[in-house]
């Protein structure tokens, strides 16, 4: 028993550490399913894309589609609204983006200037902004007073970012696919 005082790790020490490490790694693996079960499940992910018919949205109006449980504003902008969105000094914006960067092209490759598609969720704390409201006649969030313009860009208030543009594409002139 004299060599138990030796500083060198013994074979037994090694076994203890190895067993402990093995158990810790095993426990971590066992915990993962318990954590991951809370992530979006297969049925939620299956609803990840929708097609929307936009043929019956007249100029100057918008519809709200529901995508992944969130409202998506599809706005058919008037010429005046488009001009207001384009004639902005981009560098003065909190989240600089030109109007064109926030739009998509149709299958023929022309920019669909009248159609703005944004997720209708304030980038501050997730409220749904009111449409055709606020100082720029874009959106106004009633929760904490963020103001968005007709391109969905943040102009005033606590929100840090522009209204998010979801992934979407024009399938034809009258149909878009979101997601």
């Amino acid at each position: 028993m004299a060599d138990t005082h030796v500083e060198e790790p013994t074979r037994r020490d090694f076994l203890y550490v190895a067993t402990g490490s093995f158990a810790a790694v095993g426990a971590a693996f066992a915990v993962w399913p318990l954590i991951d079960q809370m992530n979006p499940d297969a049925s939620v992910l299956a609803l990840a894309s929708i097609e929307v018919d936009i043929s019956n949205v007249p100029v100057g109006q918008q519809i709200t589609a529901k995508w992944r449980g969130k409202p998506v504003f599809i706005r058919h902008r008037t010429e005046e609204e488009i001009k207001a969105a384009e004639n902005v000094d981009v560098s003065s914006l909190p989240d600089p983006q030109t109007d064109a960067e926030r739009l998509k092209k149709d299958p023929e490759g022309t920019l669909e200037r009248p159609w703005l598609v944004v997720i209708g969720i304030c980038t501050h704390l997730g409220c749904v902004p009111l449409s055709y409201a606020g100082e720029y006649d874009g959106w106004f969030c009633p929760c904490h007073g963020s103001v968005y313009d007709t391109s969905g860009r943040i102009r005033k208030g606590p929100a840090p970012l522009n209204l998010e543009v979801p992934p979407y594409e024009f399938l034809s002139d009258t149909k878009i696919k979101i997601g």
């Binding site: 954590i35 939620v44 992944r68 449980g69 720029y136 904490h144």
Partner: protein
């Protein structure tokens, strides 16, 4: 004060039990023969009142869960079913909903009691920290519970609070989706909140046992803030003295409770929560329940999203380190002439912060504007603002405003220059700064500069006066 056990089993059965599981001994030593300082006032009855509140919430909650359905399509209707169809369902739900508010009234009194009499100071730091932990668990439980009726405030409250986690850099979005179980608050969210709402009260009960354990190790603080010296003179038995005093406190508290349940059951709630949740429409004005309002005001006082979230959590976090921020050698504010005044200022600041949390942040409290003109359309008004801003070299966003007015049934747009405005956000900022100054600066500094009044030499003396105490001896 947890001295030798004084329990002696009275008969053969209790002697037999005591050798196998000394549970009667534990009860006797904790709640019968347990010595309590004899100068405890009614502010000390809130520990018992809080235990009663927890009991009421657990009992009514378990019953409500027998009738409630945690599904987005059925939840709202099932709560109405409880209100209309279930026998005494209205009573149980009103007790449970108002019980949450009563619980918070009691916990705030209990906490400010601790702050006033220095109950967080050594050797009661762990006792205090466990208490703050219970308070955090209570807020989480209340939040989960508020989501369950699936009304508009439930849904949007849940949306705003879960979005707070989105402010965390990089991992914010994955954490949010993990909390939601989807891409927004939805059925998976409601299900897990129900599960956690059922679990958390039992966590509270568990931490409460630790809290009482820690209390019985160090002994109770008392209004004089000095320790028990001679248990025979300074203390009385828990039963009947504290038991009866607690029972009286509970009875008075239950009168207030009953007033809300029977005469004003929705007085502390929000009417918007009787509208079923609609993910496509946010109510005009979202406010949390009253007991969270001061923290909500702190959140909104900060112009930066992440900064606001951090400061809000820091407002509670600072309580954890309070025992080490206070440098005073004297516990009770009774003998601290300066701290006593700042205590009341801090209490008023917390109440006004709560008021700020319920207001629209842009509500101007006082200010002055210069009107530029009145216009028929918003476009014209904005144009006037832009022109005026250019001429005067000001920012059209920050220094001007356009307000809608209805005059003779006609909508008008009034453009004006804001010369000076002091709004709710400004007030919240000042109060938030004071809130943190109170803990981070005043607590350390006061203890060093303050000259405390002379302390009585014992608890007995503080009750009987110097002469009587010596005479009794």
């Amino acid at each position: 004060m947890s001295g030798e056990s004084t329990y002696t089993p009275g008969n053969g059965l209790t002697r037999w039990l005591d050798d196998r599981l000394p549970v009667l001994r534990l009860v006797n030593d904790s709640f019968v023969d347990y010595p309590t300082p004899k100068n405890l006032n009614y502010w000390w009855t809130f520990g018992g009142i809080l235990s009663m509140c927890l009991g009421i919430q657990i009992i009514t909650g378990i019953i409500l869960a027998m009738h409630y359905t945690p599904n987005v399509d059925l939840a709202f209707a099932s709560v109405e079913h409880i209100m209309r169809d279930v026998n005494y369902g209205w009573l149980l739900r009103y007790i449970h909903a108002n019980g949450a508010s009563m619980f918070f009234i009691a916990v705030y009194i209990h906490m400010f009691r601790g702050l006033y009499y220095g109950s967080y100071k050594a050797p009661r730091e762990v006792l205090w920290i466990l208490g703050v932990l219970i308070y955090l668990l209570m807020m989480a439980t209340a939040f989960f519970g508020y989501v369950l009726p699936w009304g508009q405030m439930s849904f949007w409250g849940a949306t705003v609070i879960t979005n707070l986690f989105g402010a965390i850099p990089i991992v914010g979005d994955p954490i949010r989706e993990w909390l939601w179980g989807g891409f927004s608050v939805g059925n998976p969210t409601l299900n897990r909140f129900f599960s956690l709402h059922y679990l958390f009260p039992f966590l509270i009960a568990g931490v409460t046992i630790l809290h009482v354990w820690a209390l019985h190790v160090t002994g109770q603080n008392n209004p004089s803030g000095i320790e028990v010296k001679d248990p025979a003179k300074d203390t009385v038995k828990f039963t009947p003295y504290a038991t009866v005093k607690d029972a009286f406190g509970m009875s008075v508290f239950l009168i207030l409770f009953a007033y809300f349940v029977f005469y004003n059951p929705n007085g502390l709630g929000e009417a918007a929560n009787y509208v079923e949740a609609n993910p496509l429409q946010t109510p005009a004005h979202i406010v949390p329940e009253w007991y969270l309002l001061p923290f909500y005001a702190i959140l909104r006082a900060v112009p930066d999203k992440l900064g606001g979230v951090l400061l809000m959590f820091a407002a509670i976090g600072v309580l954890f380190v309070l025992p080490w921020l206070d440098t005073s050698k004297v516990r009770s504010a009774r003998f601290r002439p300066l701290y006593r005044q700042f205590f009341w200022i801090h209490l008023v600041v917390c109440i006004i912060l709560g008021w700020c949390g319920a207001q629209l942040p842009s509500n101007v409290l006082f200010g002055s504007d210069t009107q530029i003109g009145i216009y028929d359309t918003r476009g014209e008004a904005l144009e006037a603002v832009t022109t005026a801003a250019k001429e005067q070299g000001l920012s059209p966003e920050d220094d001007f405003k356009v307000e809608e007015h209805v005059e003779d049934n006609k909508l008008e747009f009034v453009a004006s220059r804001v010369d000076f405005a002091f709004d709710v956000t400004d007030l919240s900022r000042i109060l938030t700064i004071y809130y943190f100054l109170h803990f981070l600066v005043l607590f350390p500094v006061l203890g060093l500069v303050e000259r405390p009044q002379s302390l009585p030499s014992s608890i007995s003396e503080s009750v009987l006066g110097k002469k009587a105490a010596t005479a009794e001896a």
